[in-house]
């Protein structure tokens, strides 16, 4: 076996050094009634060529977005990934390393994360960000926990229904057995109505959680929400599933958010059927010691050279154990690196330009669809690169019909939003050419 370097001679010599007769004796500490008495019932190992052939067969049964016209978004975005990213993250010093516990030989990872933390701050307009969370949904759930912990006696959290359903569900799971009361905030014209928020806000509320853009692709009135939330000293948690929007729209930080979480998949991570994504988590200075997860800080070494190191570890499980701010240990280090490379490559200009393209195309398509017979726009609020249309044709039928033409028309939102059964969430990125959009329009119009 090519991954196992032991020759028979090696094994014999090693057993002799250990002072046992055979490999069996290595397991003498395991009681007989704990032993598996048969071989593992899995097929014998395959040659590399056969592994790839088998996997290729499975891969061929999937609908690659490069072979389809895909207008799917809803928490995972089909953006182009420059070749540079894979080239750089394939450097094994990065991806075969562990969490940088030994800073003297981990400065590459550490400086990379420090830069990631910085760019997340810049994008979100916040003071500090951690080294990553699993994904946007779990980051959002941890943000709720932070807010509740920070607010001490308060245990209510308002969750806007416009927040991505997976985020809402994950929050619910994380809070399941904790003393947290989750209260849903209804929806109006695709965003969160300020009046209802005002009604719900009181001294029991620790935080309000809102998407930006929200699940409908709409831009929520963040600064208005912030103003109201802050009147009761609660925290505004903003969740960003499509962070490219932050290159075009005002940052949550600028608008008054207290915590900004989200998923960085848009920035250079393959769709990969939804995982791994990468959660980000940014806060104001005041919440620094409540942050979950790893943090990299700047310091100096004995020679006075600038260096980076994992810091404020007293927040973390390996030091604080049951009192830790979170149980997270492994995070999404490699994904953070990919995001950083993506952001560095696009830079200030490129990210804005890319956001402009996404905006222009999506809004063009939105307009065009709205002129088609049988389609309407339920919401008038500004959007970024995603929007909801309602269709006269049943959404399931429409989707099926378009699949015949190799088009993935969008995400049906009816299951998550009773009352919006006719709604289709359509996403447009720079990967959807005008030609693709025109084909979509023809196909949509083609209803018999």
């Amino acid at each position: 076996m090519r991954y196992l370097p032991h020759t028979n001679t090696d094994i014999q010599q090693m057993l002799a050094t250990i002072g046992i007769a055979d490999k069996e004796a290595l397991f003498s500490g395991i009681p007989a009634d704990c032993r598996l008495s048969r071989p593992i019932d899995l097929p014998p190992g395959l040659a590399e060529v056969d592994i790839l052939a088998q996997l290729q067969q499975l891969a061929a049964k999937n609908a690659q977005v490069s072979d389809w016209s895909s207008f799917l978004g809803g928490g995972a975005y089909n953006h182009f990934i420059p070749a540079v990213i894979d080239h750089l993250v394939s450097r094994s010093e990065f991806y075969t390393a562990y969490t940088p516990y030994q800073p003297e030989i981990s400065q590459g990872t550490l400086q990379g994360i420090f830069e990631f933390q910085t760019m997340i701050c810049q994008l979100t307009g916040m003071d500090m960000a951690n080294a990553s969370m699993y994904d946007g949904a779990s980051a959002c759930a941890e943000a709720v926990l932070l807010a509740v912990r920070a607010a001490k006696k308060r245990n209510r959290v308002l969750i806007c229904k416009t927040l991505h359903p997976h985020y809402r569900q994950t929050i619910a799971t994380y809070c399941r057995y904790l003393d947290v009361e989750l209260i849903a905030v209804e929806t109006d014209n695709g965003t969160t109505p300020l009046e209802q928020v005002e009604q719900l806000l009181d001294e029991r509320v620790a935080a309000l959680v809102v998407g930006y853009p929200n699940y409908f692709g709409c831009i929520e009135p963040l600064s208005e929400l912030a103003a109201r939330v802050h009147t009761v000293d609660a925290r505004l948690i903003t969740a960003v599933a499509e962070p490219l929007a932050l290159a075009l729209y005002k940052s949550p930080g600028e608008l008054g958010a207290d915590i900004v979480v989200g998923d960085g998949q848009s920035f250079g991570l393959p769709l990969s059927y939804g995982g791994p994504g990468i959660g980000f988590f940014a806060v104001r200075e005041k919440d620094m010691r409540l942050l979950p997860g790893r943090l990299v800080g700047e310091t100096r070494d004995l020679d006075g050279n600038r260096s980076f190191v994992l810091t404020l570890a007293t927040r973390e499980q390996h030091i604080r154990r049951e009192k830790a701010t979170s149980n997270i240990c492994s995070n999404q280090g490699m994904c953070a690196l990919m995001v950083s490379i993506y952001l560095a490559l696009h830079g200030k200009q490129g990210l804005r330009k890319l956001a402009d393209i996404n905006y222009a195309r999506a809004n063009w398509l939105r307009e065009q669809i709205s002129t088609l017979d049988g389609f309407a726009l339920p919401f008038s609020t500004p959007v970024f690169n995603e929007f909801v249309v309602t269709c006269r044709e049943p959404v399931a039928d429409l989707k099926k019909r378009l699949e015949q033409q190799q088009i993935l028309a969008g995400v049906a939102i009816g299951r998550d939003y009773p009352g919006l059964e006719s709604g289709l969430l359509v996403c447009v990125t720079e990967q959807n050419s005008r030609k693709q959009m025109e084909q979509l329009l023809t196909a949509l119009a083609g209803e018999k």
Binding site: L42, P103, Q117, T170, A313
Partner: protein, 484 residues
């Protein structure tokens, strides 16, 4: 041979922001193709302040140079205990990048991604066979989230039976994620101290009808098999509790013992340990859970099911604890793990375990004496020494740093907490006897240096990119981002 003269050109590299030049570009974007448009002006953001502006070659050199300051498994021996730093096969990387895996969208109708679902289904079956658990969820993102998922299921199981237990027993050898997880589930942690191996009696002494579960790690973090495990499970079960197993150390057991056969109710796997997926400088991992029959209704959403020849996600599971993250699992990591299982086969997995244990015991045999061994039971995949025998006033930290000068990644240190100055060495099976010998030679040389020339250790490392860091200032005056 010990690489004592290693040296070479390692280049400096400032921060991205320090290199940025206004107007420099590294992107390459298609045309807009439709009329330009923009959101209302009051919503528009200005420039992203201080965001970097670089060319493609700037970016390439930046990360290329940064990488050279790092040490990975591909650089050399990385005996980081509890982390199972085995070789990450390159074919797995190719597999995960196949366009039919990397370019598929999670919102695609299931009928159009049958290959992905089938792969995950097959992976679940393989994990079932290795672990003995009848059902698996691939959903959790990493080990700690697997723990959370598992403990939430335990709590849901109790609640479904109307039982309101409040405590979880956790041995003092446990990883920090165990107590942190118990807290996240609203449980109070009852530590129990073990003397290497957790005795049934020790558990009996604290077990009660307030205890919802025991969280145990097997083999434990000392590298020892919990020999009383069956009796302990029986005991906990008799008193109405459940048993969670931290499966981080499964690399010691493949083909040898199946946790699911021993009475464990739920266990997480770390695919990034046992199943060779890369650690990525911190992640992403994948932390599937395996459960006993009684916990199946509580599995997180969704669950993959096979109907006829078709694979689906099942969301209609009223007793489920719900969703712990978006979509389903770290698919890209799952592909790698499945590719590994295909390469190894059943026999290969068992052989991996045998050789991992052989390697750990070989290191133990070579170093025992020079380094103090607090627990004498037969080691499995890792061996834990203490700092007790060190001369010259040297501590574990000094040994670790000195190992860097010898060209090795240090072991895990100061964990588990029950050992004074623990040096936790897990070689894994992918290391050859030669590598182990080089490492043991270095360890013995360091032990001798500690006696004769302790400054060599205390000043170490001197050959790395950086010398020891001022971690105190880092924590006292945190600088967590660059500012101009």
């Amino acid at each position: 041979m010990i690489p004592t003269d290693s040296r070479g050109l390692v280049l400096d590299e400032p921060l991205l922001f320090e290199q940025s030049q206004p107007g420099r570009i590294g992107y390459s974007l298609p045309d807009t193709e439709v009329p330009q448009s923009a959101p209302p002006a009051d919503l528009l953001r200005d420039d992203i302040t201080d965001f970097p502006e670089l060319s493609e070659v700037d970016v390439i050199r930046h990360y290329t140079r940064l990488s050279t300051w790092n040490y990975g498994v591909d650089s050399g021996f990385y005996p980081l205990g509890s982390c199972t730093m085995k070789y990450n096969p390159k074919v797995n990387e190719v597999a995960a990048r196949l366009p039919g895996f990397a370019e598929i969208h999670p919102q695609t109708p299931e009928a159009l991604n049958q290959g992905a679902l089938e792969l995950m289904y097959r992976l679940e079956q393989a994990l079932t066979e290795v672990s003995g658990f009848p059902a698996i969820s691939l959903q959790p993102a990493a080990g700690a989230q697997g723990e959370l998922t598992g403990m939430l299921m335990i709590r849901a199981w109790h609640e479904a039976r109307g039982s309101k237990r409040t405590k979880v027993i956790i041995p003092d050898t446990a990883h920090g994620t165990n107590p942190a997880t118990a807290s996240l589930c609203g449980y109070e942690v009852m530590p129990v101290s073990s003397t290497g191996i957790l005795g049934r009696d020790a558990v009996a002494a604290v077990m009660s009808d307030e205890v919802a579960a025991l969280m145990i790690t097997n083999p434990n973090t000392l590298g020892l098999f919990e020999a009383d495990i069956r009796a302990i499970c029986d005991l906990v079960h008799e008193q109405g509790g459940l048993v969670y197993c931290d499966g981080a150390n499964l690399n010691a057991l493949m083909g040898i013992s199946r946790p699911g056969d021993l009475g464990i109710d739920v266990m997480h796997f770390n695919l990034h340990k046992t199943f060779s997926t890369p650690h990525g400088g911190g992640g992403p991992g994948a932390g599937p859970v395996g459960v006993a029959e009684k916990l199946i209704p509580f599995l997180p959403l969704p669950v993959i099911i096979k109907e006829g020849d078709d694979y689906h996600f099942d969301y209609e599971r009223p007793q489920s604890i719900g969703r712990v993250k978006s979509f389903y699992g770290h698919f890209g990591i799952l592909v790698r793990a499945y590719s590994y299982i295909l390469a190894m086969g059943g026999n290969g997995l068992k052989k991996a375990t045998e050789l991992a244990v052989l390697n750990a015991n070989y290191i133990r045999a070579r170093l025992e004496g020079a380094y103090a061994l607090p627990f004498k039971e037969r080691s499995l995949h890792e061996v834990v020494f203490s700092e007790e025998n060190l001369g010259g006033g040297c501590r574990t930290l000094d040994v670790a740093k000195r190992l860097i000068d010898y060209g090795f990644h240090p072991p895990t240190i100061y964990f588990p907490l029950v050992v004074a100055g623990a040096l936790m060495i897990e070689p894994t099976e992918t290391e050859s006897k030669q590598t182990l010998d080089d490492f043991c030679d270095a360890m013995l040389a360091i032990a001798a240096e500690a006696e004769q020339d302790p400054d060599k250790l205390k000043q170490a490392p001197t050959r790395a990119r950086r010398r020891r860091l001022d971690e105190v200032t880092a924590a006292r005056k945190p600088r967590l981002r660059w500012l101009p």
